[in-house]
Amino acid sequence: MTRESNFAHQASFRDPSGYMFYDGAILRRAINPIYFPQYTKLKETGFFATLIDKGLLISHEETSVSKEQIILTPEKIPFITNPYEWSFEQFKHAALHTLKLQKYALSQGFILKDASAYNITFHKGRPVFIDTLSFDFYEENTPWRAYKQFITHFFGPLVLAKYHGTDIFKMMQTHIDGIPVKLIASMLPKKTKLSSTLFTNIHLLAKMESKHKEDYKAETKIANLSRKAQNNILDNLFNYIKNLKLNEATEWGDYYTKTNYEAAAFDAKKELIKEWTTALNPQKLIDVGGNDGTFARTVLDKVPHVIVTDIDSNSVDHNYRQLQKNKETNMLPFVCDVLQPAPGVGFNNTERASLIERLKEYAPDVTLALALIHHITLSGNVPFEKSAEFFATFSKHLIIEFPKRDDSWAESLLVRKREFINHFDFYNETNFEAGFQQYFTLEKKETVAGTKRVLYLFKTKGYGG
């Protein structure tokens, strides 16, 4: 990676306490003198140590200390996912994690001064807080100043998802500081006013916010709130969120009972993938459209870091539950629509990097794309060379499965084109190979026994060796 030394991280500018920067390829955190008193206290009281020890806060090392600046080097996180890429369960856990931190901070005489969803990401199979400078001193009897942010970043989107589905999380792309309270309130069914938690935390909040929006001089007196009262808010939100379920949540439909091939073929495919992948000895692997991680799991013990994405939030949820149950720490699932990957959003369009940029930086050694190309080609109408270009942007090796025209699923997608079916005559092995060979060299090719599917191993042109 070529990056200028001391290049400030694009997402790190909102808080004057400090900023993240690249020191060559290493990401470090600078703390400005304005935050020295807080930092010293957090360090000396063992607050940081406890949170790091419990895996609640990303660990860091103090790299240098001077009068002008303290430099920390945090533990490296291989891949950052953003709130609009989380499944329901992941979003819930991120919210619970934030409340847990605030409650603990409060008990130790500190507060979380912000409750941004971007301060949480998933690492080693669980949520972790990544903004070390988000803690400040608690001033006795003051309300939680990040309360509204918690509602707009976490509580609102979660409650909306309950009624409208997890597509709501995509609104976080257009509202980088969370969904406005008034908008949340307007999108909730009227009956939610009968819930005392929803009425007070959303509807009443929306009302109070519009009542006081013209307080330009910030002169309205802020009422006191005892520590006990604040704990009640946190406990109640925690309980409510923990019990929150999607209205539309269909039970996990077990995708693999709907496959169009036999168990033997299923195992043959697994074996082939395992064999090819293992031979490449990858350190990082991504399975695009990997459903609940079934195929990625066949190599999980051999690859140090594995990402599995899927368009279906339910599959990602299922994968997330499995990895928590199995205590897998090297698996990262998230939601991704290949036909519409997450764009770069926020200030300068660079505050939150696009999916492609993050994937390029992640640079997986192996990319898996199983039972995906027929969807991209036949549902998305994407020509083969365009798909190849997409995969070549970030992949070194690509293992891709091609369902032939007479595969029942490809067939079904084709017949749904009705009178336009002739427009898709190009969908065949020859054209697929020609399209992908513009960007890749063909290394291996094998028909999966008992299926009408062919597995290919490609190597991206331009990757040496």
Partner: protein, 67 residues
């Protein structure tokens, strides 16, 4: 002092008193329900894998008060 580096929202600061009052009532009644249910053996198992809001501290002096 607290550095106001983003607007916390005046309404959001004021409303917390009322939110807390409602939360207090809910938590109190839930506490009673919990006791009744566990007395009757009606407790359901937790489905969520996220543990609890409290950070457990082994060496917390607060636990040693009785000694």
């Amino acid at each position: 002092m607290i550095f106001l580096y983003f607007d916390a929202g005046t309404g959001a600061m004021i409303v917390q008193g009322l939110v807390a009052a409602a939360a207090g009532i809910i938590l109190f009644s839930k506490g009673i329900m919990y006791k009744v249910k566990s007395f009757l053996g009606l407790m359901k198992e937790e489905e969520d894998t996220y543990d609890s809001i409290d950070v457990e501290e082994k060496d917390n002096g607060a636990n040693d008060k009785g000694k």
